[in-house]
Amino acid sequence: MTITEKILAAHAGRDHVVPGEIVDVELDLVICHEITTPPAIRMMHEIGVTRVFDPDRVLVTPDHFVPNKDILTAELSRRLREWVKEQGIPHYFEIGNHGIYAALAPEKGFIRPGMTVICGDSHTTTLGALGCFAAGVGSTDLAAALATGRLWFRVPESMRIEVRGRLPLGVYAKDLILYVISKIGVDGARYRAMEWAGEAIAALSMEARMTLTNMAAEAGAKSGIVPPDDVTLEYVRSRTDRPFTVYTSDPDAEYVERVEVDASTLEPVVALPSLPSNGRFISEVEPVPIDQVYIGSCTNARIEDLREAARILRGRRVAPGVRVIVVPATSGVWRQALSEGLLATFADAGCVISTPTCGACLGGHMGVLGKGERCLSTTNRNFTGRMGHPGAEVYLASPATAAATAVTGRITDPREFLQ
């Protein structure tokens, strides 16, 4: 069996599962944010459920439209907060300690290998970087999961992405995942588990691995997963004392498809509007003028991302006419960036710095685009209307490419600044 099949089997009380089967799975953690949870709370009330299955296995943070952007979103956060109190949920992260859930949960030690985790959010796949099964669901699933601690899943076929070699200077996990999606398409992993392996993956930090599994969602995958190794164990053990089980794929595990990539041949990748699969090597991309650069989101706003951006922006200025918005993923990342002097670097360069929020990634607030505007963004989706006006354009790239572009005002190869 693959690692994904083993985790699902163990949580379904089974010795063995096969892809295509529908299994009833016990959940180790349910994560809630203010957009998809309030409808789930209402649904639970409608079916007469008054208590969540286990408050200790629920993690809650407002993240999408925080701090509240208008009255309606204030009401969403208020309903979430009141529900947390009513249910006695101990793991609640209020503004000041909050963060984008997919970055916050691992940072705070809530994600361990071998777990099953869901959230009412497509980028839940991110958490699979720690060797767990993590899938995004809708509000109805969330309500059922909060009521019962269980959820149905079709066991996904696994797809193995084997990455040999090492990523060259200026080429990051973001470039790798954009490259892979450009090869397999936005439905290239539809319904599948994307399992990563190979020398290049072993060399990646946990944070970089999270960028890979984050964008499994943009390939249509049910989950992304990196089998645990020493990097994983060190990351997890430094954050939690709770026990966990490490699963690995058997040598004879079956994969529906194998994709091989030589990391050493890659360049920085930019995904052109309006699909994440429109990735091109930067040498093939026109130096298009950009109105806004956005460095944020569950994809690329962890501390290493901010360090890479700051490395290029240090001692330089944002090009005239370009707006640069930096949005650390969590309060912990924000404080770490402050203590490392990264926020000063961004401010001195002429960037604005926001509190953690999903913000403009999904056209919420803190940098929504107007008609005809072009944004280069470290986020995950460049769909029509995603970051604001349907007539705006979004280019996806790494934090280093974003920083280089901020300096020149045109889409720029970060390697020009890294020699």
Binding site: P39, I47, G48, G120, S122, G138, A144, A147, L362, R381
Partner: protein, 200 residues
């Protein structure tokens, strides 16, 4: 739609493109509400500004591959249902959208070739039991594979929540019967014994 309905009939509204994503079905700027009527007023507006004004109850959306990809927002299903759409036929569906639809008791029909064959305004007939999508006026008759037993159970129950509610009710009634039996046997055993209980 009742669980016994076996044939759907409606007007085709065709979005032949691949990868119609949930940001296009309902943009995030409207996610500050879950009210279906409010969401319906903006359904598909970023790719077809006329659509919210021309959609009629009973319409059936016909789309290309990977319909509903992107964000997990269930609001996409609610917006479509709020607009009166009775089903979506697509070459294929993105997984979370498909799941959300089934969980809401909303019909999604995976029928490869439908988007290429059907035209805007066609009178479409879906034979759910027989697995056929037809446009009788134009001689179109396509096969699809029904979604399987578990999905049909959820659809028949009206979605995941009614299904879960029924399961919880069954569990509660088993538990309360077990509790009653336990209480009865404890009472009988207490009556047999004249010794005081240890905690009294």
């Amino acid at each position: 739609m009742s669980a016994t309905t076996t044939t759907l009939r409606g007007r085709a509204r065709v979005f032949a493109r691949a990868h119609i994503n949930t940001d296009e079905i309902i943009p995030a700027r409207y996610l500050n509400t879950a009210d279906e009527a409010t969401l319906a007023a903006h359904v598909m507006e970023d790719i077809d500004p006329e659509f919210p004004g021309t959609v009629q109850p009973g319409d059936i959306i016909v789309a290309g591959p990977d319909f509903g990809c992107g964000s997990s927002r269930e609001h996409a299903v609610w917006a479509l249902r709020g607009a009166g759409i009775q089903a979506v036929i697509a070459d294929s569906f993105a997984r979370i959208f498909f799941r959300n639809a089934i969980n809401n008791g909303f019909r999604v029909i995976e029928c490869p070739g439908a988007a290429a064959a059907l035209q805007e305004g066609d009178d479409v007939e879906v034979d759910l039991a027989g697995g056929r999508v037809r446009a009788p006026g134009r001689g179109i008759d396509l096969a699809f594979v029904p979604p399987g037993e578990f999905a049909e159970q959820l659809l028949a129950a009206g979605g995941l929540l009614p299904y879960v509610a029924a399961q919880l009710a069954a569990l509660a009634s088993r538990t309360s019967r077990a509790d009653e039996q336990q209480a009865a046997s404890a009472a009988a055993s207490a009556a047999r014994s004249s010794a005081p209980k240890p905690d009294q």
